[in-house]
Symmetry: C2
Subunit: 302 residues, 2 copies
Amino acid sequence: MNSILVVGSAALDTIETAAGKADDCVGGSALYFTAGASLFAPVSVVSVVGKDFPHKKIEFLAQRKVDLGSLEIADGKTFRWGGRYDKNLLSRETLFTELNTFETFEPKIPEHLQNTDLLFLGNILPELQMSVLNQITKPKFVLLDTMNLWINHRLEALLQVIAKVDAIVVNDEEVRQLTGFVNIPKAVKKLHSMGPKLVIVKRGEHGATLHHVDGDFFALPALPIEEVVDPTGCGDSFAGGFIGRLAMEGVLTPATFRRALVSGTVVASFTVQAFGLDRLVTVTPSELAAQEAKLLSAVRVP
Amino acid sequence: MNSILVVGSAALDTIETAAGKADDCVGGSALYFTAGASLFAPVSVVSVVGKDFPHKKIEFLAQRKVDLGSLEIADGKTFRWGGRYDKNLLSRETLFTELNTFETFEPKIPEHLQNTDLLFLGNILPELQMSVLNQITKPKFVLLDTMNLWINHRLEALLQVIAKVDAIVVNDEEVRQLTGFVNIPKAVKKLHSMGPKLVIVKRGEHGATLHHVDGDFFALPALPIEEVVDPTGCGDSFAGGFIGRLAMEGVLTPATFRRALVSGTVVASFTVQAFGLDRLVTVTPSELAAQEAKLLSAVRVP
């Protein structure tokens, strides 16, 4: 079993979708990731919340051997985000962003976590991601997430981080924006040349693909979900499932990368079924196994 | 080996893409389908062309045991279509449509073809598709194609055809438009309730999915193609690969449907590599086999 460290945001989200509205959902990239990854392996979290954070709502993580000792509780309020999805869940608008304690977040990795095996750099300012990288001693595998905001406004810093990581997870729009190529295979090749040996492209309802610089190409569909309640955190928990499975497998091979993509896809299929982390709290090992079996059956060629 | 009949258009296309311009490419739904299907099994074609049609350009089909005896040569000119793709191949505009001999096309199925095993109803007026259906005696399997034009302007006639076929092939936009559901799993369920037991959803660069009314769900990615020259006829030749493989397999089972989707995907990956039918003329059995191996490898979970 490899160790996992995640650095990212912890937040309270107010979310409106066609299915309804939910206030103050526990969220943020670090906690969505952790909720997914901890289904497979222990996780250590570096993030920050305010005095108002409802710790009771993440007690389920402690039961899954998540180390929350470096979830700093700072003076002030927790990062808050509010968003509204269009009725078809194809786009969303941000209603408000209150950075609060997250505004001055400077991730400090305690010594006992500096030798982590697997590192997930959640979607935060690239300069902070770089600072985390510089504090880590020889990780086996670093997976980077980012977003259009940093591609638009912090490109230079972002490119420096991209040059140093083993893998990056992007959606189809991000890979196009980052590389200037609309054709995804071309865009992925360009992204490989920028640093990461492994590129994961999230394609929403169409699934995800994994591209290794040596040419290995692997694809999975999304599991069909008729009632998508809330897509928030889908990508982070997908990354959580991916890294969690890698940690559980214990080795990094083309085969374990593929199985990791299976677990990421399975986790994301639960995330979207309820608001916030709700479904990732309740999902059982047998439900995970059944969903994995369904996914494997969907790509089996007899 | 099952017999195959296709009814659809035969055309001369003028195509502009970022890769260049090609005049008077042999095309049309029936000929794209046939170029794909004939890589696997013999095909009989019912369509119409004008006196100007360059028969030399489809001599390769005769060598593949395609029966062109019912490709009627009528007085007048061949159906012509001109289109221009945007540089990213994400959309196209029609520059001209000259129906010519196709305007008065009324498919007559000669007696020796009325007992075909497999029937592909290419994308023509739904009333003509229905007329073909009425001329066929107990086919084993009918696959229907259509387009947004008929969904918008001939919905009632189209729904009557949909109610009578075994399978339909649609892209993601068409399945949404036909059913009113944006969520594809919901849309597919609705489409199943309208008649077809089997629904195939073409997802362009993201691949294709196969949905059986009994719940069987199968998905394949598109093969990564860095240099897409011309997407024209991709869907028709995909259907050709699908039906051709089914004919070659000789039986209709969940396993052969899956392998048929593999062949459809493989054929489409060649279609887009050159203008018109060009790549479907030159592709060799060993190239098909290599591409199939690549596709199977892309969905193998170790």
